[in-house]
Amino acid sequence: MAVFEYAPAPESRSVVDLRPSYGLFIDGKFVDPTDGSSFKSVNPATEEVLAEVAEAGPGDVDRAVRAARKAYKKVWGPMAGRDRAKYLYRIARIIQERGRELAVLESLDNGKPIRESRDTDIPLVAAHFFYYAGWADKLTHAGFGPDPRPVGVAGQVIPWNFPLLMLAWKIAPALAAGNTVVLKPAETTPLTALLFAEICQQADLPPGVVNIVTGAGETGRTLVEHPGVDKVAFTGSTEVGRAIARSVAGTRKKLTLELGGKAANIVFDDAPIDQAVEGIVNGIFFNQGHVCCAGSRLLVQESVYEPVLESLKRRMAQLRVGDPLDKNTDIGAINSAAQLDRIRELSEVGSAEGAERWSPPCDLPDRGFWFAPTIFTGVTQAHRIAREEIFGPVLSILTFRTPAEAVEKANNTPYGLSAGIWTDKGSRILWMADRLRAGVVWANTFNKFDPTSPFGGFKESGYGREGGRHGLEAYLDV
């Protein structure tokens, strides 16, 4: 029993008004699927069913794409940039105003701690809409020629780790540039996207500009393969990304992919150790490690290996795992039973391959999907846990002796999404950054996101960038 036991501090669920069932959002209205069925979205922290959600069939996807096409031709494409901007500003403001509701719903459906959905996800969602709202009437200044044109209808498929944030990353630039969208949220986390559909209604967004088709992988496949889609944007696994890249081959569809990662977080012996430890913890345990750019490989310079490991363990013992709606929770629930199985399986492989596993003492709830924060020491480059994306709160720790060795190890992966560098020496940060084959390099920080800052990967972590001026390119006919 701790001396200072924090009493439960649950965020109220009452701000969320969940309906028992949700239809598809097509052409400005919620409609029942015509050739689809339905599925249940559950709270991963309790396994309670939150709502019944429509599963779109091919006919439904077709309807959505047609609605998007019509809106693109008749309304959104011809609309003046400054009016598109005003719609996006409206949406941004409504997101701010309904922020608490969105945060609670996100935590309920995804399992992430309310502190993260409240302080990170939802504010970033609003910021993203604000940022791209501002581009809608400034496209001629964006560096893509004097008269950049939209692409048309975008088919967008997003993952479950940051449901609403990934929606914002997809929809905000698409709409700013003058495209219309059909978006498919992940099957385990469709609810905030549906609430977003209500927000579009509240903003009087013209029908068909945003269409949300819920469903699983098959719905997503139907969407990206639909001939009426001009642009495909996907965030998710490298495996599915590869399949999509194949499927658009030979078409005129534009494609951007934001896929997996196995980022190295590199700690030098002159690093600000306390902040580095915070960065390591944030890098891998933020959002239960369900982060494509997670710092899942820790590379520590040998001369500080012991103190860093000890500080890390001490810090991990402070992590509070449990009820996502408790304001003091640091680590919430694993998003699904399937994901929990994968994390367990890879962790067992880690032990079987000879790495040493450690977790702080930690009581996990009986119901729901949970996994204690875990580190593996004695990991080598050859271990599967050092190569494969686990997408959970599991850190593999390796060591290095020289900067060149750190670069070599960091780059020795098919992925290339992100990397972290911890050192007090500025010139070394820049030297390392030049050599790291990764789309985002954080120095003395980690997992930082901003709408103005382009995000995306090298190599098998995908192509195209989301965020910033670069994020417009994917949605312009350039």
């Binding site: 500003y89 604000f130 501002g134 200044h141």
Partner: protein, 280 residues
């Protein structure tokens, strides 16, 4: 019967038009006023200019230090508040079209807050092991002589681009268009804009502008509203005293409804280039 009529005719409460300095609405320290559209308007003096510059200077650190996102949010808030007072401006005799354009102009510049750096800055591939990045940065306090031909849209079009990048301004409102200017100040005062970012003086720019142009603690001056070429030349000469950045009056009358571009922002930006070696 006649009593009833008299009671139903409510006697209006008239507004006092004062200066806007440091987030407050003082009268001119000179105690002077002049008559515009049947209202007494404060006639600012050189000491009001001095006070306004002090207020503007004090506000630079906080305003320039705010995140671009935050500045953008505040400019957008100005648009929201202005929209709510649309009718008030129409009541001052402005056309609805002009008021709408003025609202939209705030929205346009709000969006620039976090984009001008991306459009106007650069990563420079110098021939050597150096990181090299150029970023725009506010110049500081900008004196603005507001145009006389567009009481609201023209005013907004000169103020918003100066402040969105982190400058603070001392604006000399056009002599015959002070009512819209002070009403706009009331909008600004209720828009989360920190006091001192915009300071607005009514009166005779021909009298006050020389003090602003020669003030050593002013970094730049926008002469857009100076119609007299001789005055413009003398103001530019005075501005040379501390090498103020000068935006000259337009050669042709300005179409305030046209796409303003980025020129009015870049006129009041410095470029800072940072070098840093790269090595283990």
């Amino acid at each position: 019967m006649s009593d009833v009529v008299e009671q139903s005719q409510r006697l209006a409460v008239r507004k006092t038009y004062k200066l806007f300095v440091g987030g407050k609405f003082p009268r001119s320290e000179s105690g002077r006023s002049y008559l515009v559209q049947d209202s007494n308007v404060a006639l600012a003096s050189r000491k009001d200019v001095r006070d306004a510059v002090v207020a503007a200077r004090a506000a630079v650190k906080g305003w320039a230090g705010a995140t671009a996102y935050n500045r953008g949010q505040i400019l957008y808030r100005v648009a929201e508040m202005l929209e709510g007072r649309r009718d008030q401006f129409v009541g001052l005799g402005l056309s609805a079209v002009e008021v709408d354009e003025a609202i939209d102009r705030w929205v346009w510049y709000a969006g620039w807050a976090d984009k001008i750096t991306q459009v106007y800055g650069s990563a420079n591939p110098v021939a050597g092991p150096y990181f090299n990045l150029s970023s725009p940065e506010q110049t500081g306090v900008v004196g603005v002589v507001a145009p006389a031909d567009s009481a609201l849209l023209g005013l907004v079009s000169v103020v918003a681009p100066a402040i969105v990048t982190g400058n603070t301004v001392v604006v000399l409102a056009a002599e015959q268009a002070p009512l819209a200017a002070i009403t706009l100040a009331e909008v600004l005062a209720t828009s989360d804009l920190p006091g001192g970012v915009v300071n607005l003086l009514t009166g005779r720019p021909a009298e006050t502008a020389p003090w602003l142009a020669s003030h050593a603690d002013v970094n730049a001056i926008d002469l857009t509203g100076v119609d007299d070429p001789e005055l413009a030349r003398s103001l530019e000469e005075a501005a040379a005293g501390n090498l103020k950045r000068v935006l000259r009056p337009p050669a042709q009358p300005t179409d305030w409804t046209a796409d303003p571009g980025v020129r009015r922002m870049t006129a009041f930006l410095e470029t800072k280039t940072v070098w840093h070696p790269k090595g283990v």
